[in-house]
Assembly symmetry: C3
Homo-oligomer: 344 residues x 3
């Protein structure tokens, strides 16, 4: 009676406008924080110290920006990507409210686009996923699109709807946490002297450090976010017996490594786009480099916004990205485009 | 002066009626919860979300049923099973009170049976172990029996006492947490639509998902419960250099995997029996299937009880259990019999 | 523009009297406790149970002594030992105040000695590192000295200053936590009957148990303390492709293993000295033995002080330490000298 187990949604199960209520709300506290900081070399001071956060105008230290992302994302996996062939992209992501220890998060998605592929076997599903706290306030939202298998290749193709997705969040649309104030920012305690004004558009930073990935670590991380995709856990799920590492693990690793050179890019507030260029496997040594894409002022005292490309690699030279054919080099794991907040 | 180290109890150290006070009480909080959910794909909503628990009549989310078991069990290891050859069985287990974050647990055991084996080298010790919180209230109890080495093979055999152990807890003896009410149960947030009435006695469910086991994970789990048995940690403890995985790790893994098909079997309340059929080692891929053994109503609003067989495997076909000789197949790791609570 | 990344200090960057403010303060709570107890077989009751701590006169259970050490130490790595060739020694370490869940720790170091090596390529830097809580109270302090590379071998040698470092903290200088009272100490719950009076100077204890080390575990531990030294994480950082295990991981492992025979050596209060005799690598099985070096009374009711040598090994016979040449045997990982508090 396998009918009681969840076999996930297939392409023809989706319709534009459909709302997916994702299961298993989760109360997150300082235990999740401790694990996050054991799994990644996370050091951004605002997410490490209540005192530092208070000196920046917050009541205490919120949970890391990427904890919010992972929890919200993980819940969507059983409904959105259990039968996904590929996670194709992200857009229009914004962190809307800090997540405080003790908050209970749930998430839901709206289907905003559908496009059957020409092979008739798969299609692309666009969803806008929103994370909500126990007060029904949105804490983050983002669009992602995935390629999903059809259950029945003979099922009729839906009307094609492709949402209009700008390349980046406009700086004016970024949401700054209430009370945030970098006027009295302590650069010594934060770890680096470089302020917003010290970064130039076009500047590239090699974050130098590397971490060799272990199976136990990526599985613990992925489970912590209640992401259940088989390929991350079960060596029999893929023909070559390897466990594919959750793309979010690479994002968190690269973001943490970027501390070395971007220690003051304290909070992620916008996710403009992102591609998981190549699979990451246990044994790979992950490194990262960043490029400054844009800068903007904000309305908050002492707070500037910086738009960064964050590239994670497993080899190759720093700043390598694409080959002559315009495709990502095999050594590139991740190409992420985000906005962060930084002291002026 | 090795006399200061604990060499554990041998068969002749036990007497019927003896009370063993187990060492090292432990305060458990949300950090243990976070680790539990990183080590196992635990998703039952009542143990994940304070909001969900409140909607079910509880003040907030208790710690997972198996956290209570592991903490209570772990404390008994130095006194009961340090010199055990085998953990033979469980019976008459009941969860008596939820464990709340901040509770301090200790445990004690009463020796309720002794039977020397015919070879004269070992004997079977039966203990009833009770976990107590900081208010001296029992939070859980269970009987287990282990085969223990004699220190001196010439020591006299004790009088044989074998306790009468029913095959299962009677449904009427299950303890329902105070206030539990599934009348307004949210099946969407819980993750599956299947209610108590949808399950039939005899029904079998293949939980589909698998997890390949890592050394780091089972050691972290086992240490977290302060279980000190050498075979789990030290590659020199066994002739083949492998680390034997704590049987409770397999229980928790299988119980978590059973979410897929039994997402609404929210709380374990009775442990009728269990056998660790074969050893589990790092690299094994653990899967699980369940069989509905019985159903019963309870006095709590909207709450039914379901008796389940939970089988963990490391290969083989779903629902395989015993060979023609009546013995467990080599692929079977665990055969557990428990009662859970489920919305009507 | 690699200038934004931290390349660490070199020998000529230090001057005697210099104060180094270490970055990234950290709020530590019960999540860090849970992880510590998952990573090490920690069982000392005072650090496990709020009830036990209250029965010993404390308001509740503080965070483990070695958690305090690791957090304070980790922060000093980017400023002190990023370019270190070797961590040469510790002295004059004292735990000054318990660290309570919720405390925010930061750390700073004063350079108290400098000595260029005769090869002109490296020098020894002596620092006194102090950990401070959110009230600017010192929670611990210790001296360590490291061998650091010169950036420019032609840089002038500084004036040699070698601090006077006594072999041990005088018992009278140990700081006993306020309120600590072992008059009603519960030996049953603590796990062993041996009291201060039962230990003799010169007595040696083989702690019997062993733990085989995994990459995932030591990396999680090291990250949790925000220790960023490359050699612990990146297989490309050392010619042989191995990850060198953070010396503090070995200290914590050995201290936890010493429970078996020293369960009542509840709190570390003095760090007299220590040497990381040989590198520890994944796959090594760590064991420990102790030697009683000294004993002293204290002013606190029922509380005695015991000075212990704690030796961690990866093979060899118990109590082996040095070869005929006076050098540490290759099997010796750690030789630590500390004071602990124990019930009279």
């Amino acid at each position: 009676m396998a009918t009681k187990t969840n076999s996930g949604n297939f392409f023809e199960d989706y319709s534009v406008g459909q709302i997916l209520t994702h299961a298993v709300p989760r109360t997150v506290k300082m235990g999740e924080r401790a694990l996050y900081h054991a799994l990644y070399p996370a050091r951004h001071a605002l997410y490490s110290s209540d005192q530092f956060a208070q000196d920046c105008g917050l009541p205490f230290s919120p949970l890391d920006d990427m904890i919010a992302f992972h929890v919200v994302f993980g819940k969507s996996v059983p409904d959105v990507s259990l039968n996904a062939v590929a996670n194709l992209g992200y857009a229009q992501g914004r962190w809307l409210l800090p997540v405080w220890p003790g908050d209970t998060l749930r998430s839901q998605s709206e289907v905003i686009g559908l496009k059957q592929n020409s092979n008739g076997k798969t299609g692309v599903v666009y969803v806008r996923t929103t994370g909500l706290n126990q007060h029904d306030e949105a804490v983050m939202e983002y669009v992602r699109w995935v390629m999903v298998r059809k259950r029945d290749v003979n099922a009729a193709a839906p009307e094609t709807v492709v949402p209009d997705l700008p390349n980046a969040i406009a700086a004016a649309d970024l949401v700054i946490p209430e009370g945030l104030d970098f006027s009295n920012y302590n650069f010594d305690l934060a770890g680096e002297p470089h302020r917003w004004g010290d970064y130039e558009v076009g500047e590239k930073i090699d974050h130098v450090d590397g971490v060799t990935i272990e199976e136990a670590e990526h599985m613990m991380a992925t489970r912590l976010w209640q992401n259940t995709a088989k390929v991350h856990f079960d060596t029999s799920a893929r023909p070559d017996g390897t466990r594919l590492i959750y793309g979010g693990h690479v994002i968190s690793m690269a973001r943490a490594l970027s501390f070395n050179g971007l220690a003051n890019a304290q909070m992620m507030v916008g996710l403009n786009g992102g591609a998981h260029a190549n699979p990451c496997l246990s044994g790979d040594t992950v490194r990262a480099w960043s490029e400054v894409l844009d800068k903007a002022e904000t309305s908050a005292p002492g707070v500037g916004a910086i738009r960064l490309r964050l590239v994670a690699t497993k080899g190759g030279a720093p700043f390598d990205l694409r080959g002559e054919d315009g495709k990502y080099l095999p050594s590139v794991l991740l190409d992420l485009d985000y906005w962060a907040l930084m002291p002026l």
